[in-house]
């Protein structure tokens, strides 16, 4: 149960303890997913190995068990991602409604292929399976927000907007 202070410094400490409080104290390990999420948000959107091990130590869990979770769930990233994580849904409803066009727009605007990050570290583009918003297909998830009923041009425009320098 070491590492808590370094892992979740300052105000995050209270957040981590609030998460732990949701579970019986004999089942601290139940808190692993929300704590990984918290840790990922505090580490630039990805989980370096040292952070994964620290979460394991914090919950008294073998680090191998935590590593398994990180690689199993697509919401966790074991490699650095851009400031904007652009997840384009490619499952059937979105595909029928033009996800290919949306993806093509993103590729052209960013100049990268799915799975890559722009050299400035601003955008990471990936394809994902169903995001569960088929009624508003095609759907793109960017960080915590859903962008629905997009076409290629809207995708490009949104991405272009995020390049504005005043954003930095």
């Amino acid at each position: 149960m070491s590492g808590g202070a370094e892992l979740f410094p300052g105000p995050d400490r209270a957040a981590a303890e609030e998460i732990l409080g949701r579970y019986p104290s004999v089942h601290r390990q139940s808190a692993v997913l929300p704590l990984l999420d918290l840790a990922q948000r505090r580490n630039g959107g990805w989980l370096p190995p040292a952070v994964v091990d620290a979460v394991g130590d914090y919950l008294d869990m073998p680090s191998m068990r935590v590593r398994e979770l990180v690689t199993f769930y697509s919401m966790f990233h074991d490699r650095p991602v851009g400031r904007y994580l652009v997840q384009v849904c490619r499952t059937t409803p979105c595909w029928l409604r033009g996800s290919d066009e949306v993806l093509a727009g993103a590729r052209e605007e960013l100049g990268i292929a799915p799975g890559e990050t722009t050299p400035d570290g601003r955008f990471t583009l990936i394809e994902v399976e169903c995001l569960g918003a088929c009624a508003d297909a095609p759907v793109v998830q960017i960080n915590d927000d859903y962008h629905e009923r997009l076409d290629g041009e809207q995708m490009r425009a949104w991405l272009r907007d995020q390049r504005r320098p005043e954003d930095d």
Binding site: P62, S63, M64, R65, R67, E68, T71, F72
Partner: protein, 682 residues
């Protein structure tokens, strides 16, 4: 108790039984890959599908608890079709490399494909390929063959307690990986080779050595530690190719340590396969006649009080008995089986046995370890402690150096004075033991081999009294021996008679020139320099430490080459059986003593194995009750040890610094050397 029908047969089972177990009780075999009796249920291979009447989808029987009135079908068309579907998916990514796979002939996937596989594959797409992983010198990986049953992961997590394997990724991308390349930090890692139902994990030293149908199987016992694990020796053409565990619920369940499994390549190197005689400082090969004549001449020339015999860690009852008989017939008092000098109370069996029994660990509700590291001294017993801790979370404490035992241990410190406080009842953990119903006090053989060993023994015994650990129904006073020969030697009473020299006395006498003749029966854990000027006969199978300054080397048989009885740390006699004859001119130990006695002109009272075993039975009747626990000495615990003596201030120390190399066989093993290197590098 719920009743159900399986293929039309009614059966009643215990509440909570799974459908798969119920089927087994009804005599119906259910195919499985991921399910294993001694591991948690994963339910991921889906091979165990059965049909429940009235339920639309097939059930994974390994994970489904029985409910009253269930009607299970295991041979219906739907079941067959479902299992064929599972098999087809398992084979989608499985390579067709059975002809070059070491698992071939003993592969669950191969066997099940016979019953549930299609004749031809319908799969036309590319198969996935997975990078092999480096699991160290013992376990070879061919990861493309893996079907992700996760038995290896669960074994390392649950039984071995070394959570170094895991599954990375999901679906098509899933792979089994190790935390660190090059080594699994467990003394039980070889068991994952047995558990792997396919050829993904195979034995690295045995790679491409043989096909299973070429091997002769010999059921025997392991003697490389004192647990006495049940093993099967697989050999071909007079050579041991591998060792596998056999099931023995009372000792090793179905696991064995890596040394028991992999040290056997040491059986063919550095062997003594003919007699040698030292002349002018150098050994030259001689005939048995010449060698025995030289031994007899030297023995006859030496006065009995200047003659001694010491037996080693791998000696069986037969060899030890014959040597002791031969020596005592000549009036020699200095005969000892305790080459490490362990202070066991002679004549008091409770003082050297693991009285609680290994299976008794499953009942223990508080454990104190004194000067022992069971993980290195007997890994299968350590796994039993871990199993008990997992089942019941019992308190386990230790007096001794801090090491990772794979379960939480309350460290009381390595200073022996802690033991004195416990024995007086003034230490808080004495209270924990006192309140337990089945308190277990485990004394390591290393703690008793210290100069103050008798005091340690006496205090541990006193502690057993203080906390009420040794009663009529439960005797928790338990000694963990680390060598297979020790308990047997003590049962036989192979200790010096009054006025005789013990092991350290022999070494001191030899250094001072007071010893003229010494007979070493495989005794290697001593200082051979002490015997530089003594006429020394070394009888054994390896040219190891004991042979260094010997004058005559007599080639004996290793445990895989002779009939011999071993007594494990519980006091349970078990028989080792020969997989093949000893190499060259080597002979079974007892036959050498029979021949030597004849050479001396005073034959032993027996000249056959049966005769020798009758002699042993006459002396110690329970040693003939093979595989049985000895009758416990009646309570209360007899007085032994010296609880009032002075304790050394020196802390208890680790006595097995290198698990992989502890005896002449394992020291000769290239595989064990590779393991020691891998652990040191990691």
């Amino acid at each position: 108790m719920p009743k159900l029908s399986i293929d039309g047969t009614e059966i009643e089972v215990v509440e909570g039984t799974t459908v798969l177990r119920a089927c087994e009780q009804a005599g119906v075999e259910i195919p499985r890959f991921c399910f294993h009796e001694r591991l948690s249920i994963a339910g991921n291979c889906r091979m165990c599908l059965v049909e429940q009447v009235g339920v639309p989808k097939p059930l994974a029987s390994c994970a489904m608890p029985v409910t009253d009135g269930m009607q299970i079908l295991t041979r219906s068309e739907r079941v067959q079709a479902a299992r064929e579907g599972v098999m087809e998916f398992l084979l989608v990514n499985h390579p067709l490399d059975c002809p070059i796979c070491d698992q071939g002939g003993e592969c669950d996937l191969q066997d099940q494909a016979l019953y549930y596989g299609r004749v031809r594959s319908r799969y036309r797409e590319a198969k996935r390929a997975v990078t092999d992983k480096d699991f160290g010198p013992l376990v070879k990986t061919v990861m493309t063959r893996c079907i992700h049953c996760t038995r290896c992961v669960r074994f390392m997590d649950e039984v071995a307690g070394v959570p170094e394997l895991g599954t990375m990724g999901r679906g098509e991308d899933m792979e089994i990986v190790a935390a660190l390349d090059g080594c699994l930090h467990s003394e039980l890692s070889g068991n994952i080779v047995d558990l792997c139902p396919v050829g993904a994990l195979t034995s690295k030293p045995y790679a491409f050595a043989a096909r299973p149908w070429e091997l002769s199987h010999t059921e025997s016992v392991d003697v490389l530690d004192a647990a006495g694990s049940a093993i099967r020796i697989d050999s071909r053409d007079g050579r041991v190719l591998r060792v596998l565990p056999r099931v023995n619920e009372e000792i090793n369940e179905e696991w064995i340590g890596d040394r028991a499994r992999y040290a056997v390549d040491g059986l063919v190197v550095r062997r003594l396969d003919r007699p040698w005689l030292r002349a002018d400082g150098a050994f030259r090969p001689v005939t048995w006649e010449t060698a025995l004549a030289a031994v007899a001449t030297a023995l006859q020339a030496a006065a009995p009080e200047r003659t001694a015999a010491l037996t080693g860690d791998l000696a069986g009852l037969e060899g030890m008995t014959a040597l002791a008989d031969l020596m005592r017939a000549r009036g020699v008092d200095s005969v000892d089986c305790r080459q490490d000098g362990g202070a066991f109370g002679p004549g008091e069996p409770a003082s050297w046995r693991f009285n609680a029994s290994i299976a008794g660990i499953d009942r223990a509700d508080a454990v104190l370890l004194i000067g022992t590291n069971p993980r290195r001294e007997a890994p299968v017993i350590n796994a039993r402690f871990r199993k008990r801790w997992r089942a019941a979370g019992i308190p386990i404490a230790r007096v001794g150096p801090v090491t990772d035992l794979t379960y939480p241990v309350t460290e009381l410190g390595a200073e022996p004075v802690v033991l004195a406080e416990l024995a007086q009842g003034s230490h808080p953990f004495a209270e924990v033991l006192g309140q337990a119903r089945y308190p277990l006090i485990v004394v390591g053989s290393g703690a008793l081999a210290r100069p103050d060993g008798a005091v340690v023994l006496g205090l541990a015994r006193q502690l057993a009294d203080t906390v009420g650990a040794a009663g009529a129904a439960w005797n928790g006073f338990s000694v963990l021996q680390r060598s297979a020969a020790r308990a047997g030697g003590l049962e036989l009473g192979i200790v010096p008679a009054d006025g005789g020299l013990d092991a350290s006395g022999m070494q001191a006498a030899a250094r001072e020139g007071r010893l003229d003749f010494l007979y070493l029966l495989g005794a290697d854990e001593i200082d051979p320099e002490a015997f530089r000027d003594t006429f020394t006969v070394y009888q054994g199978h390896h040219a190891d430490r004991g042979a260094r300054h010997a004058d005559v080397l007599l080639p004996g048989a290793a445990y895989t080459e002779q009939e011999a009885t071993y007594v494990n740390t519980e006091g349970r006699p078990q028989q080792a059986r020969p997989a093949h004859p000893p190499p060259g001119n080597a002979r079974p130990d007892w036959k050498i003593f029979v021949a030597l006695a004849r050479e001396l002109g005073s034959p032993l009272s027996y000249e056959s194995l049966d005769g020798l075993r009758s002699r042993i039975e006459a002396a110690v009747p329970h040693l003939a009750d093979i595989d049985q626990l000895p009758p416990p000495p009646p309570p209360p615990l007899a007085p032994f040890g010296d609880p009032d003596g002075a304790l050394d201030a020196a802390p208890f120390e680790e006595i097995v610094p290198d698990y992989y190399r502890t005896c002449p066989i394992s020291r000769a093993s290239a595989t064990m050397a590779a393991c020691a290197r891998a652990v040191a590098d990691a």
